[in-house]
Symmetry: C2
Subunit: 134 residues, 2 copies
């Protein structure tokens, strides 16, 4: 198995709301999206990102899925300075994200904050002075 | 905001078990990992991948997090043929993954199966004849 995640797909409860958040709010570019589609794949640097109604995700894997109020994973968006963390974080809030943790010095030596998307999925915006994944 | 996910981090309930699953079982390569570390970052093509004890994730964001028995997101690993889906899927099961859906023709025109990691996180192994994300 090649070490690669091709796509990260989030199950969402209100597709139009999430589509607007990611496309208009954060500026992600949909790939081959047509109005009325209920699956959106966003072209990204690195692994691609997609959203899909959670009920349809359940059907596809054949198991029940629900959005947990206590998300157990994080999507990190790394940038190259503390000032850029603040800038991107502000863009997230302006797009309607919920503030979870204001950007600040982190115990691990970097600088980061968290916001949540419309379903509560967590994004960490981070500056990591040790490993450049921007 | 640049369209990029730098790292996908999963909160895990038994770190050594998950570390073995991803490093020994699936063959992912840890980055600067030292024995005893309780955070592992894996070098990947595309977005990197990491695991972190869920209790420590909760502290970092300042909100409670729990692993849901009904995972609301999927990590897809795409390969270039149906035969490769079967091969990689077999590797996952051999690594101790739980079988969720045997690889089969999918409604969207591809071929895919699902297995779950030790915490129940879902990996889809897929062949997509329309969009090459391998």
């Amino acid at each position: 198995m090649k070490p690669k995640i091709s796509i990260i797909t989030l199950g969402v409860t209100n597709f139009p709301r999430s589509f607007d958040f990611y496309s208009k709010g954060l500026g992600f570019i949909p790939h081959n999206y047509k109005t009325g589609d209920v699956y959106a794949l966003f072209e990204m640097d690195g692994s691609w990102f997609s959203i899909f109604p959670i009920d349809m995700m359940s059907e596809d894997a054949g198991i029940k899925r629900t959005v947990s109020p206590s998300p157990s994973f994080t999507l990190a968006h790394n940038v190259s300075s503390e000032a850029m963390v603040d800038e991107v974080f502000g863009q997230g809030l302006k797009a309607g994200a919920k503030l979870i943790k204001t950007p600040q010095k982190a115990a691990w030596g970097g600088y980061s904050g968290y916001f949540a998307d419309p379903d509560g999925y967590l994004w960490e915006v981070a500056y990591n002075p040790f490993t450049d994944l921007t």
